[in-house]
């Protein structure tokens, strides 16, 4: 089967991670999946933009699989977003390369789910940290699928972890035949505005 799913995994300390290793292996075991481990590919933080864009072009589903650090993605993954999702390619005038593809976040958190509520130390429900992801997908004309999140990754029991990894592999195998996708609209705002230029706006900040 030609690989139509691209899984981008990013973990800055993979040597310490049991969860992400297992999830990565689970994803790689699915025939239609191509895994790109960005920390292994670019240990010097020098991303080969052309190669990444080629890999994206061939995929129908793009998966970002990484731990949540400081409520967001690891730094090399963010650099990947900055450089690969380029103006005129992924968004902005002429930037339609990702239009109509799906983006799926597969994340893990150290804190348990119970910590993501107003009375606990993370104070916000986990979903409150996701708008940036969702909007990134939307600006590129991609559909943001409901994320698969594993909470409390530090203390997870082996059985539970294996069940989670099986779930991931099943989902990747079944895609796009998921129950939750039946009701999901094709894409809410998949018009990419010509003058979308957030990075320049940032530059013109203070």
């Amino acid at each position: 089967m030609p690989s139509d799913i691209l899984v981008l995994t990013a973990h800055p300390h993979l040597e310490h991670s049991k969860v992400n290793r297992l999830l990565m292996a689970a994803a790689a075991s699915v025939g239609r999946v191509k895994v790109r481990d960005v920390y292994a590919l670019y240990p010097d933080y020098l991303i080969d933009v052309a190669a990444e864009q080629r890999a994206l072009t061939q995929a129908r589903l793009v998966v970002w699989q990484h731990p949540i650090h400081w409520y967001h993605m690891p730094p090399l993954m963010k650099l990947w977003v900055d450089e690969v999702l380029a103006f005129g390619w992924a968004y902005g005038h002429g930037g339609h390369a990702l239009q109509g593809k799906d983006l799926w976040l597969v994340a893990s958190t150290g804190g348990p789910e119970s910590s993501y509520r107003p009375t606990d130390y993370n104070r916000y429900p986990f979903d409150a940290f996701l708008p940036a992801y969702e909007q990134t997908a939307t600006l590129c004309g991609m559909r943001f699928l409901p994320p698969l999140v594993l909470h409390g990754a530090h203390r997870i029991a082996d059985d539970d972890l294996e069940a989670h990894a099986r779930l991931l592999a099943d989902r990747l195998t079944m895609y796009p035949d998921w129950p939750e996708l039946r009701d999901l609209p094709a894409c809410v705002t998949c018009e990419v505005p010509d003058n979308a230029r957030p990075s320049l706006d940032l530059q013109e900040g203070p």
């Binding site: 010097d44 020098l46 005129g88």
Partner: protein
């Protein structure tokens, strides 16, 4: 007739060499023994295929001249200047010490003092050809033992002139005595000639070579290189100096020139062949009639002078002090007699200082010692060196106990040390092999474990644990030795991953052709860091400078790989390289223009595609 003679002679020499040398190497005896044996076999005492041994020796002496030219090329003037003390100090100590000791033995045996002195002077000299030949073969010239040997050999070359002038003065009958004033004039002439060569070399040689190189005819450059050596050699000979010394001077003068590598490559094959011929001629010149007539006497002479010289050299090696493992080679190579001894004895015979019988005994003794030396070296490798290892006073030892570290580092100079330190700091055990004993002592003083040994040797690699280790880091600075090590590793330890240091692009491709993929060009990263500093000083942001340098690095490595299939096709290589450079320049020019346009607030909608989009830090 003449023609067919020349042809059959060449046929004979070439086939003898082609047969004997690989055989000798296969037996682990080294190429020099191969040449010597080939000479004996085809010579007047073997199959009698060649009989003009003397003429051949004179012709082939030019090989020694070429060799000294090449040695000179490796020695920049300031390094030669730094060697002045070892040359005149240790060189004189060797020559004077050996001469006095041997002459003393002669006197003690009841020989007249003139005869003793001449014999001692002739026997005190050592064979530069075999000495430097062995050093080259074992890549020992840069070690302290090699440098000491070179110093002594150079002094012998200088001293040969006064020795030859002295010999006729010793004549019993006094017929050879030269008139007083003549000596002074000759000395003045000689000094003048050296000055002329130094001056001419400094002022004229480089422009002349540039002019010739511009003619872009490779064979003319080769001809010019040979002419250069022949011309200096004959100038020196004209004023009675040693040809080899002149060639050496010319080499030193060109050591700093941009043509050094090219001259080296051009001269190298001539040197190799002529030197081989020279060794064959030495083999042919062993007068086995004399040897078989009085074997006892010759054996006594050989043993006496070898032991006397070895004693002097041993004392020198201790006093220098030379690292223990380098002593055997130093002592053995300088203890033997030398080709210049032949000349001294011939001159002495002509002057009537010694009779023909004595002369041939002495010549035979020298020849036998030259024949013995390579054999003695093989014996020393096998029995003397391991003993030194066990003695190991300062912990300096050749590797003899099996090692088990997962990583072997071959070559522990500036490069290997950094690799080793990072690994050790992370608790990874390494076995270090380094062929320069002094270097081993230095790093040991800093508390790092390193073993003395040549990584191209299969037995040593095995002891280093190459069949159990996972990785070998080839950080040897000498290109030929590095490639040789990789060859041995590939053939005998295919499970070892090779991580290699490349001196330059040619070396890089050499490693690549041997299937090595983890290669670093040794100066690339430091040069890029300097380029980053310049970009920063030119006003670029630090992070932008970093990105540009890293992208340039990737580009230049990709280009190198792209050029690999066109190896040997100079034009194609240049074309690919040019194209690659242009592509990068154009790409970056475009990125700068876009960044500029964006900065001005225009061009957002410019209809440009981004094959490789500008990184965001390219804007301000």
């Amino acid at each position: 007739m003449e023609h067919s003679n020349w042809l059959s002679g060449t046929l004979m020499y070439l086939s003898a060499a082609v047969l004997a040398v690989p055989l000798a190497r296969k037996l682990g005896l080294g190429s020099i023994i191969g040449y010597l044996v080939a000479g004996i076999v085809i010579g007047p005492w073997g199959l009698r295929l060649m009989t003009d041994a003397q003429d051949m020796l004179h012709f082939a002496e030019f090989g020694v001249v070429l060799m000294l030219f090449l040695v000179g090329l490796e020695l920049e003037p300031h390094r030669l200047w730094a060697l002045r003390k070892p040359i005149f100090g240790w060189g004189t100590a060797q020559l004077a010490g050996s001469t006095l000791l041997i002459a003393g033995i002669g006197l003690a045996c009841g020989m007249p003092w003139q005869l003793s002195l001449v014999a001692a002077l002739g026997l005190a000299l050592s064979s530069t050809a075999i000495g430097l030949g062995v050093l080259n073969e074992r890549n020992l010239l840069p070690t302290s033992g090699g440098q000491s040997l070179l110093s002594v050999a150079l002094l012998q070359d200088i001293a040969a002139i006064p020795i030859l002038a002295l010999v006729p003065l010793l004549s019993l009958t006094g017929t050879g005595a030269a008139p007083e004033g003549h000596g002074w004039r000759a000395a003045g002439l000689a000094l003048g000639m050296i000055a002329a060569i130094v001056l001419g070399g400094r002022l004229l040689l480089r422009p002349a070579l540039r002019w010739i190189a511009r003619s872009a005819t490779p064979e003319i450059f080769t001809a010019a290189a040979l002419l250069l050596v022949v011309a200096t050699a004959s100038l020196m000979q004209a004023v009675g100096l040693s040809m080899a010394l002149g060639a050496f001077l010319a080499g030193v003068l060109l050591a700093e020139s941009e043509y050094r590598r090219e001259l080296e490559t051009d001269i190298e094959p001539f040197k190799g062949l002529l030197l081989g011929l020279f060794f064959m001629a030495v083999g042919m010149n062993v007068d086995f009639a004399v040897v078989t007539a009085q074997p006892g006497r010759i054996a006594a002479v050989v043993a006496a002078f070898l032991l006397a010289k070895a004693l002097v050299l041993w004392l020198m090696a201790r006093a220098m002090p030379l690292p223990a493992p380098e002593r055997p080679v130093f002592i053995l190579l300088l203890a033997q007699g030398g080709e210049f001894g032949f000349v001294v004895f011939q001159a002495a015979q002509q002057a009537g200082v010694i009779d023909a019988g004595t002369s041939s005994v002495l010549v035979a003794a020298v020849a036998v010692s030259m024949l013995l030396t390579p054999l003695l070296l093989v014996a020393a490798d096998r029995w003397w060196m391991p003993r030194l290892a066990h003695a190991g006073q300062s912990g300096m030892q050749e590797l003899d106990e099996p090692q088990n570290a997962p990583v072997i580092i071959a070559g522990f100079g500036r490069y290997g040390q950094v690799v080793g330190r990072l690994l050790s700091a992370n608790g990874i055990a390494v076995t270090v092999l380094e062929h320069d004993a002094e270097q081993v002592e230095t790093v040991r003083r800093f508390g790092m474990a390193a073993f003395y040994g040549d990584a191209t040797r299969l037995d040593l690699l095995r002891t280093a644990g190459a069949d159990r280790a996972r990785i070998i880091v080839v950080a040897i600075d000498d290109v030929a030795q590095s490639l040789k090590t990789v060859d041995v590793v590939r053939e005998h330890f295919p499970q070892l991953a090779v991580v290699a240091r490349a001196r330059n692009v040619t070396h890089y491709y050499g490693l690549r052709q041997r299937g090595v993929t983890l290669i670093e060009r040794e100066t690339l990263d430091s040069a890029l860091m300097s380029a980053r500093s310049v970009l920063e000083l030119m006003g670029l942001e630090r992070h932008q400078a970093r990105n540009l340098a890293l992208r340039f690095r990737r580009h230049t490595i990709e280009l190198l790989e792209e050029m690999a299939p066109h190896l040997g096709d100079q034009n194609k290589l240049i074309a690919v390289s040019k194209k690659g450079r242009q592509q990068l320049e154009q790409q970056w020019a475009k990125e700068r223009a876009e960044a500029h346009a964006r900065h001005k607030g225009t061009g957002w909608h410019a209809d440009t595609v981004h094959p490789e989009p500008a990184s965001h830090d390219a804007e301000r």
